[in-house]
């Protein structure tokens, strides 16, 4: 079965055509680089997305800390991940890249801080 697919691995957004047998990739065309083929395979077999959101803080210089998953997570886990993020409060200063939650949801990825955040005392 052939169907169109847009590669979202970079802003080029190549229009590809993928051929599948329902659960596996058989062929792909239209991609401008090899990442497109890898994306197509992943998207057919087990689609993943990087989660970016922000978590609540207490006593820090900003109310929210932006965070991301250290690697993409299964697309169907995005909402479960958002529910878990809402239970987190960061209360001590962090550096960019600091792990906010290790092995998040048992997915083998960490939730990491996207920026430095100091204590709110000086402001």
């Amino acid at each position: 079965m052939k169907r169109p697919m847009t590669c979202i691995a970079c802003p080029q957004g190549c229009f590809m055509e993928v051929e599948t047998d329902g659960s596996r990739l058989i062929g792909v065309s239209g991609h401008k680089c090899s990442r497109g083929a890898a994306y197509a395979r992943q998207e057919i077999e087990a689609p993943v997305r990087t989660l970016t959101t922000s978590v609540l803080t207490r006593g820090l210089e900003l109310k929210m800390l932006p965070v991301r998953s250290s690697k993409p997570i299964p697309k169907e886990k995005l909402f479960a991940a958002m529910d878990a993020v809402k239970l987190i409060t960061v209360t001590s200063p962090v550096k960019a890249g600091a792990v906010v939650a290790a092995d998040f949801l048992g997915l083998g990825v960490d939730l990491v801080a996207c920026r430095e955040l100091g204590s709110g005392l000086d402001s």
Binding site: C10, T53, C114
Partner: protein, 334 residues
Amino acid sequence: MKERELVIVGGGPAGMAAALAARASGVGDVLLLERDQHLGGILNQCIHPGFGLHHFKAELTGPEYAGRFADLVGRDRGIEVSLRSFAVGLNREKELSYLRPGALEEVKARSVILATGCRERTREMIPIPGSRPAGVYPAGLAQKMVNLEGWLPGREAVIVGSGDIGLIMARRLALEGVKVKAVIELQKVSRGLVRNVVQCLEDFGIPLYLRHRVSLIHGRDRVEKVDVVKVDEEFRDVPGSGFSIPCDTVLVSVGLIPENELLEMAGAEIDREKNTPVAPSVNLTSIPGVFACGNACKVYDLVDWVTRDSELAGRLAAEYLGLGKPPPARDASE
């Protein structure tokens, strides 16, 4: 009045890149003014990935992209960063005044780079008829509320305009549990990147109505619903095509407009329609020694190009100050 070699207004990606490039070209003394309490500009609220693919060959979030530059700026002794400092005046002699907590400062600059970014076009600039209930927000303001302040604008949203900010906000709200009922676009294609249509709308099953417009916003105190109608090739309403979408929130994402009040105050020539400096090439203005870069110069889609062009602005300022290019290699070996 204190004198400075170079004063840069705006500590977003444009101002930071310009400051670093000016330093690399030999400018000894840079004052960087930022009205916010942090460097980074609009990138602080753009928490999604998609920045730096060209400049860093990595897909960073906005805060990560800004953070890399803020670190470099912070480590450079020749750049004085003045936060919570709002530039309020500039004249042809490059005398600049700015407000910081408890003081009005004045400084005479030998050269100036304006990197003040954009503001959003509002509903008022793109007339949508109807009452003026609560619940109508510019998309970028909503982005700031959700990502920096931590509160949601409503429960059921319709987004007007399918530029990247509108698309990114559709996903952001959907992730936060808001029901995003539709994105309405007047043109026949989305104005945003296709990858954003895929990963922000299709991923979440959000319908995109192309060649449609919001004809009316209903609601007395709070938005209750919007009327939507299909338009033809000449943007005329198609009779009988109207329908309503109940919602309590409308995000308007209808583009950005450069912020150039200071330049105007100084008497530089401004393109009235685009609100950009009139000049023969990018980064220049009609006043010698006053430069503009980043979104203040023209609206950029990708921050990577903001960085590239703003570095050029930093070098132009150095050249204007008689510094410019480093001596050729053979001089160094002599």
